[in-house]
Amino acid sequence: MILLVLILILFFAALLSWIVGVKSHAGSRWIALCSLLLNLGIVTGVWVNHPAGTGRWWYQYRVDWVPHFGISLHLAMDGLSMLMLALTFFLGALSVLISWKEINSRVGFFHFNLLFVLCGITGVFLTMDLFLFYFFWEMMLIPMYFLIGIWGHEHREYAANKFFLFTQAGGLLMLLAILGLYFVHAANTNVYTFDYFDLLNTPMDPAMARWLMLGFLVAFLVKLPAVPFHTWLPDAHTEAPTAGSVVLAGLLLKTGAYGILRFVLPLFPAAAADIAPVAMLLGVIGILYGGMLAYAQTDFKRLIAYTSVSHMGFVLLGAFAFNEIAYQGVVMQMITHGISTGALFIIAGALYERIHTRNIRQMGGLWLRLPMMGSAAMIFVMASLGLPGLGNFVAEFLVLLGSWQANHLLTVLATIGLVVATAYSLRIMQKVFFGPCDRQYNMPDLSGRELVIIIALVIVICWLGFHPQPVLNTSQQNIDYVVR
């Protein structure tokens, strides 16, 4: 029941903030913030006192929806979902905070969309019914389209359309695969059901399994995104408002990774194992190619966007390495990437508010004026290049350590990706905060609100870097299951 409450809180808060937003902007903001904080509180509470000894699934909630077709409202939470939800509500609350001053038009509708995206993401992370999964999967799409298309930068419509077309195309393939699985299962067992647990271990012919698996995989690869399906990402990330970028990079991409861990690997273990070298290769190409593209960019947000391509390559690499260390790394990478890239987008947004450009060629020497922002940027840049002591290092190291057991050559190439990461990450510092300062800027350093956001992020990333064990333990059970 608590799981349904999580979704409903966001749903009603979304409607409420829209209605209230007509009269009062601040009211709309406070409603959004409070609902997210409430959810974050609930999830943290669940984390701390989840019922012990219930096995892998902490909570389950199941009500028939359309029993005739085997569709049910089936929600369940395990460690992986819990971690993803905590990340969702944390970043969600931060993205409300970060839009406090940035968004001034149609505030109510903005928060409606934001909460609706988060509601969809929450659903994706919780649902255990494939029909419902597809429902939520599409549900996060449209408000995101509005977020980019209405509150974005100059080329927002192009970016929004591109984002929509790519993810929708992937989603349709997934729908086909879901229906295929549904009928294959029915043909073999005479039970028509969309339920995840029933569909596990569906006996099927290997060729069929491969096609269905590819349907799911392509949808998740588009979302992840992996080369060559990544090209929607830089446009969408660049053009979206800061909160949109944070949600996109921090959460939407994670739904792809989550999908691979939750659906592709358990539903089609044999087919996934067959395709593993290709998938790992795509991951490695993503790491290197994304890094190279990031190095060349002059648009701050676009640069960060491409680093996401590079980082998500590690997720793909680890997910198909088929061992526990790599999976732990993948889960860590999902969380730490959300934090570090989200933070970089927040910094980019804060800079944009001050100097009204995203072109890093026009920046330089900003440390002089913005030492606090510079220090924060330094921390997250170091996180993105994988400095030990920050969360991303643990993640990347575990992924590489695990994938080494699976494939030596690809791991070596991925490790070289760390050098590329160094090159592009330092370029950020170099071009933005260091170097000569041509113009006389007169601008304030981080405001109190921004400071709160940044400090929260810094604390989390350091905590993950020095004491990742709670996270690793939480995802442990789920991973045991996937590995088996």
Partner: protein
């Protein structure tokens, strides 16, 4: 006493300085910055005494778990054994002196707190590195050192050149780190752990001598070491790293960072012993680097770059010793080198400050009278670097290496000759520098004399540079083996093949003579006959060679052409993302199709009917074709 305190104190102080960068006064910053390292040194000494008295193999402290996932387990485990004690001692003590010096050197710097925060972080990271009980924690320190070098080399961030140097240092060392990371993966794959003692213990059971796997591992570890220690082929970052403030250079060169590679190899010496090929590679790299860097040092015009190349060269000696299996000799040279190199850098810094940030050697000169105190400490440092016999620490440590490069089990005549050539070159470039600075005509006016905070550390280091040598004396001269005995529990004694006193004497005499003749050449070159020498040096062939050496044998150019330019070019070319073109051209194709089809919607009724008729004709034709023909 907890060993964890030693790195923790600098870290905490760095954090304090970062948080309080606006509020803390200058004095508070100095106290926290220097005091923390002093406190750390004090704790280190206490623990060393406790360790020496306890007689255990090592003091290990488990300061918490770090990562535990699927059979992989590491914690924050700190280890104090004989080797760590030596390194920790040098790092904290020399680091403390450098900090004290820096408080004087940097006292006009507006970003004073940031400077000390980074310096403390640097020391803390280095201490973590040398005290780590597992390789992951070592890697933590290893990367932390890289980060701090980046922050400090680029400390004066407004100058793009500094940033370039900082970036270069970070990226080049990261290349080595990558190799080391892969070595870590391999070690974990085969031993199932990253704890150093366990790895060293199990390695002899797992691998036989010369096994290709262990050779790969050792070579990859060497790759990491080469990156951090600025050896061939990753030496290019160090000379550029002179862009940072001088105390930073001193810290990088003497106490931290560049010696990390030496430490790593010494720490994992068991693995290298199992992989003779890798060990020979180490020695060859050391030998080549020490000669190449020696030549480069000979022709530099920047005072700090001469010292930078000399560091590369001296670390080459250490690598040579490691490669020959003379583990303790390498560590011994590290210790003496730390003292005299810190001394030289800080003295050079004092000179630079005195001449109002003038670094060009040819604009110096005649400072002997002007800067009396510095003259003397500089002389001590130079003498030690050039290994003037009997009275300097450098002589004893370097001489040991030269002798062992011939006589040790891994030694070879070629190594010995290279080491001797290096000795000659060292004498030449060291004293060329010395004479250029202190003799001849006064060219730049002295406007600022270093204060006590800068001079006292110099005196202490001068003293150390002299007496530190007496803890380890060769057979021929007293035979004191305090140092190698101390290290014996960790590092095995060197196995000497040609144990002949006469040959050892010959070697020592030869090296001493070469060092002295190097000084003689330098004297002739700079002081005695500057005119004649410069005529000789202006010959076109030599001019080119000098340029070539002074550019560090054009390694920068080579790497730029081979790696940097292609990467940058490719990424610039591909800025718009080729794959995106695929999708946009698909969209363009659709657009084109739309345009073509839209033209058929002409609005002319008759055209539509014509279309219907055409369709009917076509369908009927197909029907007739299929059914009747």
């Amino acid at each position: 006493m907890f060993p964890a305190l030693i790195p923790l104190i600098p870290f905490v102080s760095a954090l304090l300085l970062m948080l309080g960068w606006k509020r803390l006064s200058r004095i508070a910053v100095t106290v926290i910055g220097c005091g923390s390292i002093g406190l750390s040194a004090f704790v280190a000494v206490l623990i060393a005494i406790q360790f020496a008295a306890g007689g255990e193999q090592a003091i290990v402290q488990h300061a918490g778990n770090w990562v535990e996932a699927g059979g992989f387990k590491t914690g924050f485990d700190l280890r104090m054994d004989a080797l760590s004690v030596v390194f920790v001692g040098v790092i904290t003590i020399v680091g403390f002196l450098i900090h004290v010096y820096a408080s004087g050197y940097m006292h006009e710097e507006p970003d004073y707190a940031r400077f000390f925060a980074c310096m403390n972080l640097f020391v803390g990271a280095m201490l973590t590195l040398v005290m780590a009980d597992n390789l992951l924690l070592l890697y933590f320190g290893w990367e932390g050192v890289g980060l701090c070098s980046y922050l400090l080399i680029g400390f004066w961030y407004k100058d793009p050149a500094n940033n370039y140097a900082a970036r270069k240092a970070f990226i080049v060392t990261r290349v080595g780190d990558t190799a080391m990371a892969i070595a870590l993966f391999m070690l974990f794959q085969f031993t199932g752990t990253l704890r150093i003692p366990e790895i060293l213990q199990s390695s002899t059971h797992i691998w036989s001598k010369g096994d290709p796997v262990i050779t790969w591992i050792a070579l990859l570890l060497l790759g990491g070491a080469v990156g951090k220690s600025a050896q061939l082929p990753l030496q290019t970052w160090l000379p550029d790293a002179m862009a940072g403030p001088t105390p930073v250079s001193a810290l990088i060169h003497a106490a931290t960072m560049v010696t990390a590679g030496v430490y790593l190899i010494a720490r994992t010496h068991t693995l290298f012993e199992l992989a003779p090929d890798a060990q020979i590679t180490t020695a060859v790299i050391g030998a080549i680097t020490l000669v190449l860097a020696g030549f480069s040092a000979l022709v530099q015009t920047d005072i700090k770059r001469v010292l930078a190349y000399s560091t590369v060269s001296q670390i080459g000696y250490m690598f040579l010793a490691l490669g020959c299996g003379a583990w303790s000799a390498a560590v011994f040279h590290f210790v003496t080198h730390a003292f005299f190199k810190a001394l030289l850098f800080m003295a050079a810094g004092a000179v630079i400050v005195a001449l109002h940030h003038e670094q060009d050697l040819f604009k110096m000169g005649g400072l002997k009278k002007q800067l009396k105190g510095i003259y003397w400490v500089f002389l001590v440092g130079c003498a030690s670097l050039a290994a003037i016999p009997f009275v300097t620490a450098g002589f004893y440590s370097k001489d040991q290496i030269i002798w062992l490069s011939l006589s040790a089990a891994g030694g070879h005549t070629a190594f010995w000759l290279a080491a001797l050539l290096g000795a000659l070159l060292t004498g030449m470039y060291t004293f060329r520098l010395f004479f250029l600075v202190f003799y001849g005509d006064l060219k730049t006016h002295v406007h600022h004399r270093p204060g006590n905070s800068m001079m006292i550390p110099l005196y202490i280091l001068a003293l150390l540079s002299t007496i530190a040598g007496f803890i380890e004396l060769p057979h021929t001269l007293g035979h004191v083996t305090l140092f190698s005995n101390w290290l014996l529990p960790v590092l095995p004694a060197v196995s000497v093949l040609h144990d002949s006193v006469a040959m050892e004497w010959t070697s020592q005499a030869l090296s001493a003579v070469l060092a002295l003749s190097g000084i003689g050449v330098a004297y002739a070159w700079v002081v005695w006959r500057p005119k004649g020498m410069s005529d000789f040096l202006e010959m076109p062939a030599l001019l080119w060679l000098r340029g070539f050496w002074s550019r560090g044998w054009d390694f920068d150019k080579l790497y730029n052409i081979l790696l940097v330019y292609p990467f940058v070019y490719l990424s610039r070319m591909n800025k718009k993302d080729l794959i995106d073109k695929l999708y946009t051209s698909l969209a363009a194709l659709m657009q084109w199709c739309h345009n073509v089809l839209a033209r058929t919607q002409s609005g002319l009724l008759r055209w539509y009917i014509l279309g219907v008729v055409l369709g009917a004709v076509a369908i009927l034709s197909v029907l007739i074709w299929r059914i009747y023909i």
